[in-house]
Amino acid sequence: MLSALIVDDSETTRSFIRSLIEDVAEIDVLEASSGFEAFRVLPGHSIDIIFVDINMPDINGIELINFLKTNDLYKKIPIIIISTERSREDMSKGMALGAFAYLTKPVNPDELREVIKKALNL
């Protein structure tokens, strides 16, 4: 079964994205409320897609993306940035580091489904 990881400090956003992902396909969804928590979750699981927020405590989304994209274990996992319009500059930095796509909050469900399908070749 495919599995996804959502890294966002807002429980609201996590549960919203979770419901959309589960809508698209049979995907096991893992959640992390910060970059640090993501580091704890990552080693024990095989993850197929990661959703990352930009503004988080501990480390920001760009730093997390940079870490993932420079680590042989994780660099192939597609990353979707989900953040607010105000973080557009930050999102473009994330894209430059190799993220697969970015979506602005509030997330358009159709757009998100579309992106997931593309990222996972569904």
Partner: protein
């Protein structure tokens, strides 16, 4: 699972409280961390209200968040004006939350949102920050910094701070606590600008973190302070900055991090549940005592009976200890209340165009959480009252030869089983002549009535006196002094006032430390026992049957040259009177409204836990609950407020039975 409205309110209130005190902190001393935490909190509020579909709160938080974002990114300069503006919007948010809590219609916020947008447009934008390209910080670092982190980096450079890269490696399994420990250690050294995770050049099973630090110390000091050897200096600090003092705010932050880790939030109902269980255990303990006594009576001092007694004593000690520990959990320091009041003072002082110096004493004094919540509104009213009616305008003060800056002092301290709160101003004071005139105008008293100075001043607490006219925008929000008094009385406390025309006023609130446990006087009437909360009692006295007089169909007694109306408890509870020669009088109430409750016996003073009466009994007049007295005996607790009403409504009906007219 859909979270309930209660969850929303609990969380929203917590956020708003946090934001409020952070904004005040910011007012005292600017710190980027504080500003960023306010931004994050408002962001969370937006998400929270979005989840519950409360559009007004979402819209306002969104606008506010944008303004805060501009501020934290240095796009708008921080000024006192902006902080006040944010504070006023936090108040609006708080109101909206209250409206949700009370199921009221929610105010339209489109104007407020427009105001914020306008403010963002008007606010002076800061000079463009210089580019980071020429600083010598490598692109590999710059490319992962968020806009906010970039801004903080520039700000540090602008302050002449050095920029350091601290390289650390931790085991992947437990990096978080170690990293947190290190970050804590950094607080006094400088500002942690960014935390950059890396797996480059790090062994398997480990994770590296490169910490970007802005600090005014030279490289060697940084190594010494952080206990790290692998520190790279990216930009050297400007020398004049070398001895910058440790920042105060970072210390506070450290403390708050710690408290977050060692604090749990508990619903007060759960604590009450524990108290109830303790109470029931105390009843069982009483049963043990009784059994041991019965054993002693039947078999003499048998060793087993003595053992049983000893054990029950130990249980008693432990239970009381437990009870006090649980009660202690309900306690909160006054600092919370004072912070809110300081917020109110700042805001209204400005609105009233006055200058006020606020002094606060006794922030560490503790009070029951429930009481703390209940007294906020009355305190806000009193504080507004001082600002609005007490302290004169600057010009008036100068003309009167007073310091142009008014003094407002808030003080909390404990006294015995009570907490005393004083609100004192050095303003105009209360003019008894004006009060009297107004009371006569309002037909609250007749012209012929003779009142002493104290009685006149206490009229300000009578319903109907503090009316709208002459009450300005500030304190004219519908809460009168009578409501203040009613609230305090309902909590088992009382309000006093000391005032002098021209010199200022002092309001003194005396409140029980806790609502859960009450010191009470156990009394006996017609062979039944009743508890009277000690906070309601002014004094007790013995009197003889024939010293009672009847004036206008009403029983009174002369106590120290004053006539005290009497209310026979037996009459109030419809019990057959136990005729005797001597009775006890228990004086309850304050000021003008005092009565003597007539009791047969005073038994003892004890601590009681008041429990509400069940559905069937809750409408019995003059009884506020029941309590057990530790002797396996239930007593009713008198509702003194209701008794007073009873006494004063009786005035007309006249009910003298079995008394001797003089």
């Amino acid at each position: 699972m859909k979270p309930s409205k209660k969850d929303f309110i609990a969380e929203a209130e917590e956020i708003i409280e946090e934001v409020g005190s952070s904004v005040l902190e910011l007012q005292e001393e600017f710190s980027p961390e504080t500003l960023n935490s306010i931004f994050r909190s408002v962001h969370t509020m937006k998400g929270l209200s979005g989840l519950f579909g409360i559009k007004e709160i979402t819209d306002l938080s969104h606008a506010l968040e944008s303004l805060l974002d501009d501020l934290r990114l240095g796009k708008i300069e921080i000024t006192g004006e902006i902080i006040d503006f944010i504070l006023s919007n936090i108040d609006i948010l708080k109101n909206l939350i209250d409206q949700v809590a009370e199921d009221k219609a929610i105010d339209d916020v489109s104007n407020d949102v427009r105001e914020i947008e306008k403010f963002r447009g008007l606010a002076g934008s800061k000079d463009k920050e210089s580019s980071l390209a020429a600083t010598g910080i490598s692109e590999s670092i710059l490319k992962v910094l968020s806009e906010y982190e970039e801004h903080r980096l520039k700000a540090n450079l602008g302050d002449g701070n050095g920029i350091f890269l601290l390289k650390t490696v931790f085991e992947l399994t437990d990096f978080a606590p170690q990293l947190e420990e290190l970050i804590k250690r950094l607080k006094g050294t400088g500002e942690l600008i960014a935390t950059l995770p890396t797996s480059q050049g790090v062994p398997d099973g480990s994770i590296g973190f490169n910490l970007l630090l802005g600090a005014s110390y030279p490289l060697e000091d940084i190594k010494g302070k952080t206990l790290l050897s692998d520190v790279e200096q990216l930009v050297s600090p400007k020398l004049s900055q070398a001895a910058a003092p440790e920042s105060k705010t970072s210390k506070a932050k450290e403390a708050s991090l710690k408290s977050a880790a060692t604090t749990v939030r508990v619903n007060i109902d759960k604590l009450d549940g524990i108290l109830n269980t303790i109470n029931e255990l105390m009843l069982l303990r009483s049963a043990l005592v009784r059994i041991s006594q019965e054993l002693t009576e039947s078999y003499g001092y048998a060793p087993l009976a003595v053992d049983l007694y000893k054990i029950s004593q130990s249980i008693d000690v432990k239970l009381r200890h437990l009870q006090h520990s649980v009660l202690d959990l309900r306690m909160v320091p006054f600092s919370h209340i004072f912070k809110k009041l300081a917020q109110v003072v700042r805001r209204y002082t400005r609105e009233a165009g006055k200058e006020i110096n606020l002094n606060i004493f006794g922030e560490d004094t503790e009070i029951d959480k429930q009481i703390a919540e209940e007294i906020i509104d009355p305190l806000v009213h009193l504080v507004r009252n001082s600002i609005d009616h007490g302290i004169e305008s600057k010009n008036e003060r100068v003309a009167l030869g007073k310091n142009p800056q008014g003094d407002l002092t808030l003080k909390a301290f404990s006294r015995g089983n009570s907490v005393v709160i004083e609100i004192q101003d050095d303003g105009a004071g209360i003019d008894p002549d004006k009060v009297l005139q107004k009371a006569i105008e309002k037909k609250m008293i007749s012209k012929e009535q003779v009142l002493d100075r104290n009685e006149i001043i206490n009229l300000i607490f009578a319903p109907g006196l503090s009316t709208k006219d002459g009450v300005s925008e500030i304190s004219g929000r519908g809460v009168g002094m009578d409501i203040v008094k009613e609230k305090i009385t309902s909590l088992g406390g009382f309000v006093g006032i000391e005032t002098e025309k021209g010199a200022g006023s002092k309001f003194i609130l005396t409140l029980p430390i806790t609502l859960a446990i009450v010191k009470a006087l156990i009394t006996e009437v017609s062979k039944r026992r009743f508890a009277v909360p000690l906070t309601s009692i002014e004094e007790t006295f013995i009197f003889t049957r024939d010293s009672v007089q009847t004036i206008e169909g009403r029983e009174v007694i002369e106590l120290r040259n004053e006539m005290l109306p009497l209310l026979r408890a037996s009459e109030a509870f419809d019990l057959e009177e136990d005729i005797r020669d001597e009775y006890y009088g228990v004086v309850v109430g304050v000021g003008q409204k005092r009565i003597g409750l007539v009791m047969d016996e005073l038994i003892e003073q004890t601590e009681i836990v008041i429990k509400p009466l069940g559905e069937h009994l809750k409408n019995i007049p003059c009884i506020s609950g029941a309590a057990e007295t530790g002797k396996y005996e239930i007593v009713f607790v008198m509702d003194i407020d209701a008794m007073m009403d009873e006494a004063f409504s009786k005035r007309k009906n006249n009910g003298s039975r079995g008394t001797k007219d003089v």
